[in-house]
Amino acid sequence: MAEVSTTKGISKGVVKLTVLLGISFAIILLFKPFATEEAYRAFPVIGSRVWVWIIAQLHLNFAAFVLGVPIFAVAMEFIGWRKSDERLDKIAHDFAKLFTVGYTITAILGTVLLISLPILYPKFMEHMMKILGPTWWLYIVVMYTETIIVAYYYYSWNQMKTEGKGKHVFLGLLVNLAGAALLLITSSWVGYMTTPGGVSEAGELVSRWDAIMTYMWLPLSLHRLVANVVFGAAIGAAYAAYRFTTSTSPEDKAYYDWMGYTAAMICIAAYFILPGIGYLLGVEIYAFNEQMGIQLMGGFFAWLWVMQAILMGLILFFINYYLWISLNKMPGGERYFKYVKLLYIFTLLGWAIWMTPHSVAVSLEEARRIGTYHPILGNLGVMASKNTATIVAMLATFYSYAIFRIANQEPTVPWAKTGTMVKAAVMIASFVGILWIGWYSYIVPAEFRVKVLSTIQFGLFFGVMIATLVIDKYLYKDAHIIGEPEWGKMPDRSQYALIGVTVTFTWLMSLLGYMRAGGRQYWHVYGIVKDTSPDAFLPTHGFASVVASITTILFFFVVAAVFWGIIKTEKVPEGGTS
């Protein structure tokens, strides 16, 4: 493939976007959606809801992908530039390639959604345009900006590699800024739908700014931003894992092993913040409307939270597994296997409690024997224990990482023994403290538990992580290195764990997306625009899971195609034409 010039690349991108927008406007004009008296039109066979559901979720997945991957790519590029590490730059470039392709797919899916919504839901979209119309035009402007910058960023890579690397990194930053702007705009729409503001009871606009600046807007944006980082890194890890398992040369294996590791660690670091921000989002939902909070947390969706817990725990287990196997490639790593047993138990217990359902689905016969609530499960199923279990499992995961980092080193500082003891003391104290708070949470009112104790638990969790990392920084200064990590010396099953993380996370995103949308129940805009379509009921969990699975499969089908395409272009000999 010949090197495409920057200007050509940019114009290609702009034309693509314009064509897509043009098509959608043409179709919309052709159908004259708002001219109808009907509130809904039906999509053939699968119905409007499922259609829009799948398309929107796919679009969101790719959007998350193209917003998350640049964050990761630019970070890599920046570090590679400062450390003059060619490998990092190569990873960054690989990723830039990924998200450039992803960008096109996102745009196509967006177009489909753009056409579908006003045609299938004319009355609802009319309302949305009335309230938030101007943001839509802003969105188009930002989209053009993003397209131009992305194209410029990608196609100028080799050009600016030697001279003007700093400027190039700055371009990457702009990509992310534009991405964040897109995210903020779209979040404002979703935020308005779930926690509307700025309108009168009759649905008339009172303040457009209030309609944008809803309860959900910022926490949702933040949540999505961090989730996008996790997602982007997870895709990166999956890509590396895929390459690792298909590579045959030791160099390639070493390279992709290292890439997978880096991506996975970024993924999990961002992942740790997610529960906290999710908590914030929950608090905002409660602040908007307690009943919606109840509905989402304890009501109809309670079982989905159990599924969420299973998936989240699964992700932690995959990552832990990956790190534990990684100890094999660290000279001196075998010294730490004895701790793995302990960490394993903590993660397992945390996961078990995390997934324990509060209100169990039982047969009538079981219900008669158990009563309404099982004394053990009932107590394990409430927030006090779940918070604790989550944090314990995450902390165990962190320690897996902390062990791996120093597995091939031996401290040489004079206070090495004391330092290790302090670290051990911090570790024990943190587990004990978190468990104690967990126990204490049972005997205090909900208010105090939610506002104070949970915060302390999370604070303790982050404090311990920072403390351990800081101690390690000084403890392993000029440490004796037993041996360099043997990158590439990993069994394939460790890579499946990374792919597992990505698939699980994608599935989780679909599921949580459903919950977020489902919280509105039979409203398009909660409390303002009622959903009177035939689909105005909550589907069963089973059905929702099936749709989430289909979306996930479709997504990975497309992603696999993208990976395959990238690998195929690489196989063309250097300098050759195609």
Binding site: N289, E290, Q291, M292, I294, Q295, G298, G299, F300, A302, W303, F317, Y321, W324, I325, L327, N328, F337, V340, Y344, L348, W351, A352, M355, T356, P357, H358, V360, A361, V362, S363, L364, E366, A367, R368, R369, I370, G371, T372, Y373, H374, P375, I376, L377, G378, G381, V382, A384, Y442, P445, A446, E447, P491, R493, Q521, G527, F537, L538, T540, H541
Partner: protein, 265 residues
Amino acid sequence: MLNIYPIIAGVGIVISIISAMKKAPFFNYLGILMAMYGLLKCVEFVAPPLPGQVILMYMAMFVFTFLIYFSIKEDQFQAFLRPMKTVLADDDKKILRVLIVYIMIPVLAGYITYGKVKPQLAPPTSARIVHPEPPASITFRGEKISLLGAESPVRNDTANRDKHFEAGKRIYYQNCFYCHGDDLAGNGYIADAFNPRPLPFRGTDTIAQLPEGFVFYRIAKGWTTLPAGSTPWDSSMPAFDTFLTVEEVWQVTFFIYEATGNKPR
């Protein structure tokens, strides 16, 4: 009555200990799974038995995580796979292979399949919304009451606390206790007649998690305004706005919180 579960647990523990000493991870794995299953079933000696669904969840977790555990170290993983490989590939293990691979496992699989496909007496079930979302306001005998952030006038009237408590107690024991129980633990003397069973008020997981306005709403409107997900057709919760006044509903709400030592959210 002979209970086999402690025996299963015991045998499982013995197997896993012996195989751990003999460095046979595969049998260690089987032993652990056996022990865990036995132990989960043994819960019924100290508490009500765990529901089958929860046991299934936990067992799936154990199967997965212990498999992971035994595959961390390469040599251990190979040792783990060895018995399977031996039985499948070794020529001198023919009898064992025929027995296990060609008889036992297929028969077991067939039996499990039979259990799945045979007509079962399992009536349709539905996931039930325990705390359905209430409307923003309700009509209580023609009077409109806003529920968003509704505050209990009874709770705020601290000067007459005892009076309200006693009134609430009278209302509870003349309207609620036959289902929700003398001890407010959801086990009234006719609780068995209903499915779903009446909710308990004790513990930290029901009314302690709810705002008082929600409880007011549930008492006032009962089954009549439940959404489909709450299976209103099954609900025997009366709409108490036909029997009680607004103040009485607040009083009984106050009582169930005070009597169980719970605070509204």
